[in-house]
Symmetry: C2
């Protein structure tokens, strides 16, 4: 009774994932971002899924998309399923490479805080290998395959250090800086993502000074630091990130005033943290 294979194919997993991400994040663009594809790809997936189902999942208007009733009904089960799948996949990777620890962090933290500590970690625990991925925002640990996260702000995990900020500059520049008022005549370097830093520091160190620092903003903190070291101006420094340069004398703090941003450098781990991840977490915590 053999028959030729007229196979009724399942829904495409990729399309389901695109729908799930779009629904959960409330937009195709956000979903594209999370999935690491272009928005057009998400559009196409959702459309394909809708065509396949013969029903709309989103209501479109020019200002975005909203889930239809159908979409709302099926989203929870789908999200949960993908959570399970991501967890299983993460588990698989952890079991396959138990000595590999993936850390997600800001580029600046990676370069100025984490990287300098790694040689010592490698000396202490040579069997552990650490991989670092730099990103702008903490990943969704339910989905992304990282073992540890290291970012400013939030409330999860342990705080390694207060985020303390204060101006720093090359020694040659410091010689020309006598008072806070001098900042008005110097390039005041900053990071575009931390554009409030100067105002925050001024409010704390010299309230009512009436100074509006002006200067280039960099989209990569490392660039700003590099410029400061090269004498391009005064950088509003984050203690954890400029500590090494201060210790080495490549940068100095021309003013005594320090401000806290209210955030802290925090370290947390993905739920089923393996021995290696715990080991690295302990070491980083102690080293802070």
């Amino acid at each position: 009774m053999a028959v030729a294979p007229p196979k009724p194919k399942d829904l495409s997993l990729t399309a389901l994932r695109a729908f799930e991400a779009a629904a959960r994040l409330g937009g195709f663009a956000a979903a594209a971002e999370e999935l690491g594809v272009s928005p057009g790809a998400v559009t196409a997936h959702v459309k394909a899924l809708e065509d396949r189902l013969g029903a709309m999942l989103f209501q479109r208007d020019a200002k975005g998309v909203r889930l239809t009733a159908l979409g709302q009904r099926v989203l929870p089960a789908l999200s949960e399923a993908f959570d399970h799948l991501a967890a299983a996949s993460h588990h698989l990777q952890a079991e396959a490479a138990p000595q590999l620890v993936h850390i997600a962090t800001l580029p600046a933290i990676a370069q100025f805080w984490l990287s300098p500590r790694l040689p010592e970690l490698r000396r202490i625990a040579p069997e552990i290998s650490v991989s670092i991925t730099a990103m702008e925002a903490p990943p969704n640990l339910k989905r992304a395959p990282y073992d540890l996260c290291l970012f400013f702000g939030g409330t999860q995990g342990v705080a390694l250090a207060e985020d303390v900020i204060f101006p720093v500059c090359a020694p040659s520049v410091a010689a020309r800086v006598r008072s806070v008022a001098d900042l008005a005549n110097l390039p005041c370097l900053s990071d575009t993502a931390w554009s409030e830093d100067w105002a925050l520091w001024l409010a704390t160190a010299q309230p009512g000074a009436g100074i509006t620092p002006r200067g280039p903003a960099y989209s990569l903190y490392a660039l700003a630091v590099e410029e400061a070291v090269n004498g391009a101006g005064v950088l509003i420094g984050h203690e954890a990130l400029v500590a090494r340069h201060l210790a080495a004398g490549r940068l100095v703090a021309p003013f005594p005033g320090r401000a806290t941003t209210g955030r802290s450098l925090r370290l947390w781990s993905a739920p089923p943290a393996g021995p290696a991840a715990r080991r690295v977490m302990r070491w980083l915590t102690e080293s802070a």
Copy 2:
């Protein structure tokens, strides 16, 4: 602090699925069958996954594959995750098309039992649309998107009818059949998948007759039936499948003896059966 996207991609869902199927079913060939792809595709997926992980998941030997310890450790979580995903996907399809009922069944049942009943069902419940997929063996309902299954044997669901077998043939052939002994001189048609039918019937209807029926075996029961109707010989008929031909007089039963195969025609549903599926199930049960 924007950075270019050096994205650490997740494991391929397709590869994970191939691994899961191979592990669960105990072989690449079986997995290929379930996934509806060629064995080579499964081989490639598993290999890609192993390369990606840097660890072996299967131990190969010439007689098949066995899971490694690593594979055994991760399989349960993966299987569960794919079960959830399949359930969610099924749920989505059911919600999107609540009036569509997918039935999985044997080709012969589809043609000779189910199909004749559908016009009446359409008359009674025109809003329900039924889709039928023919297959050789009951699908894994945890994975395959069917609402109802209709097969011989098993213990699930409700029994619609005993599987009763007895010889049938065209009236013109019946005229030449006087006794069971005549079967030795006539083509005795059968289905390759039900090769024991003749022996079973003879053991019940004429024990010790010493007859070995000979004749063509068909890989599709419908072919055997067609041949019987055309007078090609005597077919060992399954009551549920030849009832219509008997009623119409195109086939007759030349002997009074009937045997039961010990199995029955059973109908069962996938766990979260919607209203339409339940309706169809009720109707089919009553119609039997």
